[in-house]
Symmetry: C2
Subunit: 322 residues, 2 copies
């Protein structure tokens, strides 16, 4: 567990200056995949995907990113290049004999309605994340959606992180609930989508759901609501952000991971975790999620610039400012 | 049609000063009902309800309200008192031989899931709104959810309104679509909830839905999204507001009408329609809707004070401000 929770108690005494850590890199552990996606706007086959990929590219616009994951020997070299172009540190990307993790899915006109047509775990089935020595002192850690047992094993390999955030998925809430609850006691923040928050807490009302999760360990809970934006709750403050008003969601795959990437990346760049920066991080997360939806795979993320990201940050902030 | 649409074109040339009309009363035409409601938090029988009632009480905290509606001879005197206590002008409330409109409904844990168990139109079936002479020059008009034909007939009786807003319901979109489309050409603003916006526009994406409606006549469209807040679009600006984070929605009946009441009431009090006041009006509407949900019928609305309303306004505004 990070030292932040203790410091959090003194936060207000310090005049809200928060945790100073200086500009920091971000570590992410998650999936690297070949996705095939069908949406009402088209189709993509065996394109670059996976939670660690989306997260890393989104975060790379703000700070240095360290990726831990696994791919098979069939993983295309040009996908590696995409990640290297974004200066993502791939020292933790294991290349194993066998095939890369593959996912095939379909979305309807409602981007929240997602149907998995095919899932091949391949080399991901026996993934045992090993954190390279040079990654073990990363201040900011994001445990993307993988088995809570693996998330716990990663946490055990990190030395004194400043801030640990965890994402999950309905399957782990069903199949590995106890392990996930254990994990929650050791992290600073949890990111859930609407249906995960309801499923995990047993509360339909999202505010009650978030408060219940807040009572289980983390001092920060974010609920992502797709087209309805996101909200963040801590014991001391609440923050709500609308989604960027996209008229066309080309492919929502990875939007949640990009939210995490924008959020953590901005915190790493800001070098200080306080209420104001956490709120700004939510808006940057929302901005990256919106770019992600504009094209298939990481298409839009490869083309976006920091200037465009900052413009979108302002557009989202102004949406609800008077 | 109001003169506002023409003035709207010159808005920006005028430096955004908008429509000045001075403090104005608000006229509402809609239902006055006896509701019976079952929610997961309890039950209420034959309590005061109806769109014109919720709207009027919410608006009465800001400006003078003129109500047009009909009740039967059985309508309890104490309900009349509730409206009179809020200084609502009842010169337009017809009392007819027969029984008052009655609605019985049930909500689940999702406040958006509403089941109508019983509906007795009674005197409402033959309602022909007559606008009293002294009401005919009201600058602000709200056509609450009734048959679009009746809404049109009301509009014909109003002389030079400054701003006309219309609400509706899925049943009129299905049964009286052409009439509703005609009406849209003559109003300034339309308020729809999420499912009505989708149903009416045939677009799942709410931004596209709102833009499509914007192309059909009104220069302002508001989409209400319950627990996800609301957004407003015009040709020139967009505004999004989160819902007030209620942990318990005791009874959501009338929340949409209270949104309308807070919105129109604030505009009447402000005496000027410009971008800033329209945005503030959305927040006041959101505040009134949240109070409405806290108790059955108009219970909370009878007890709330302007001071509490202003506190909630600030709380909602601060939810998404940095």
């Amino acid at each position: 567990m990070s030292s932040l929770r203790i410091i959090w108690q003194c936060w207000k005494k310090d005049g809200g200056s928060g945790i100073r850590m200086g500009q920091s890199p971000v570590l992410v552990v998650g999936s690297v995949a070949l996705d095939s996606v069908i949406t009402p706007f088209g189709e993509a086959r065996e394109v670059l995907g996976g939670s660690a990929v989306y997260f890393s590219i989104a975060a790379s616009f703000f700070t240095n990113v360290r990726l831990v994951g696994v791919v098979g020997a069939d993983f295309p070299e040009n996908h590696i290049k995409v990640l290297k172009n974004r200066k993502i540190d791939l020292a933790g990307l294991e290349i194993k004999e066998g095939k890369t993790f593959r996912w095939t899915g379909r979305y309807g006109h409602d981007p929240n309605e997602r149907e998995t047509l095919n899932l091949e775990l391949n080399v991901f089935a026996s993934f045992q994340p090993k954190i390279p020595r040079e990654f073990q002192r990363t201040p900011l850690v994001f445990l993307a959606n993988i088995n809570p047992e693996l998330q716990m094993s990663v946490l055990g390999q990190i030395k004194k992180p400043e801030f640990v955030a965890v994402d999950t998925m309905n399957i782990w809430i069903e199949k590995n609930r106890e392990q996930f609850i254990k994990l929650l006691r050791r992290v600073d923040m949890v990111v859930l989508n609407e249906s995960e928050a309801r499923q995990f807490s047993g509360e339909h009302n999202l505010i009650r759901a978030a408060r219940k999760v807040l009572g289980m360990g983390p001092w920060l809970v974010i609920v992502k609501k797709g087209e309805h934006g996101a909200f963040m709750v801590s014991r001391d403050f609440r923050f709500a952000v609308p989604a960027y008003p996209l008229e066309k969601v080309c492919d929502p795959t990875g939007a949640g991971d990009c939210f995490g990437g924008g959020f953590m990346g901005y915190l790493g760049a800001a070098g200080r975790i306080n209420e104001e920066n956490l709120k700004k991080a939510v808006i940057y997360g929302t901005a990256m999620a919106s770019f992600c939806c504009e094209m298939f795979s990481v298409g839009r993320l490869q083309k976006v610039t920091r200037r465009r990201i900052d413009e979108r940050f302002k557009a989202i902030r102004n949406l609800s400012h008077i």
